[in-house]
Amino acid sequence: MATEAPSAHLAHHFPDLQTQEHAARLGMWLFLATEILLFTVLFTAYAVYRYLFPGAFDEASKLAHVSMGATNTVVLITSSLTVALGIHYARQGDKRKTVGLLAVTIAFGAVFMVLKGFEYHHHWVDGQLPGKFYHFTGLTGPGVSMYFTIYFLMTGLHGLHVLIGMGVLAWIALRAARGEFSREYSTPVELGGLYWHLVDLIWIFLFPLLYLV
């Protein structure tokens, strides 16, 4: 058993591929923890300003475009499914399905960004903008522009993560298409998928907080 030829993917300081994969996965989770804490700062800002201006946040969140937000929730959750399936087929060494599912995931990401762009455009033309740029006359009062500051910061940082995730998945899909992954080695697909799932996780909390409550 110990005489198996070492895999080309195995770094010399790991005894076997499984240990290497565990280490890679743990490292990815540590990175995701820092990402969670990065977003937590904005969630804290949201909590504080919502606490200070409950009425303003209640009224301002009614200006959010719920139908587009809900569609984006469905899009992102479905993209999480496709990337999970992509990882599943990557583990089985099915190159064609892996690449296809990753491409579908990237397409869902693009749909998300396009819808987000429409939302931003609507807020832009209506003057529902952060701070002193707020000039929407339909709703005024203390804290209203603060809602939009938080809205643009949170969805903006999240959108940036969607774009980065799309880039990561595109890179991994390219590597998969070149046949770099196999039944024994598909760690990058899994790690890229973890990043994409995190983007979905954040949105799961952003959507009800910004659009609904």
Binding site: H22, V48, H88, L212
Partner: protein, 140 residues
């Protein structure tokens, strides 16, 4: 370590993934239903956050494979959640226990109040100094 060398048996299949997706869709519908139902603000936030937490747990456990892999990765997620709770909880507790006027009046451009640099009325005697000022103290 007595970790199993092969945990292939625990890997989920496409059918399970689709099932979890269906549950997530149903929960998304539940979130929207909660939004449409008239209820108190606190209850609405609790319900929305509760559903979101269940959805996040499903994604983390099954899509992100914490259910089948577990180990240190779970510990990392739980630890980060603890810090999330600490940061949000303590910050909110701080705000909830402040005097109401600690809230700045012009925190929105809609309610600009004229700002004045005039000194306070001078007929009020200044507050007494400390009897013996501490030399190291540089604040205020």
């Amino acid at each position: 370590m007595a970790a199993p060398a092969h945990n292939e048996g625990k890997h989920l299949g496409p059918a399970q993934y689709v099932l979890i997706w269906v549950v997530l869709m149903v929960l998304t519908g539940a979130t929207l239903a909660v939004w449409k139902t008239p209820m108190s603000d606190g209850l609405r936030i609790s319900a929305a956050l509760g559903i979101a937490t269940v959805k996040a747990a499903l994604v983390a456990l099954f899509f992100m494979h914490l259910y089948e892999h577990g180990g240190a990765s779970r510990l990392v997620l739980v630890t980060s959640m603890m810090f999330v709770a600490l940061l949000i909880g303590l910050t909110l507790a701080d705000n909830a226990t402040r005097f109401p006027y600690a809230n700045p009046p012009s925190s929105s451009p809609q309610d600009e109040v004229p700002f004045t640099n005039a000194p306070p009325p001078s007929n009020v005697p200044p507050p007494p100094l400390r009897a013996r000022p501490e030399p190291a103290y540089q604040g205020h």
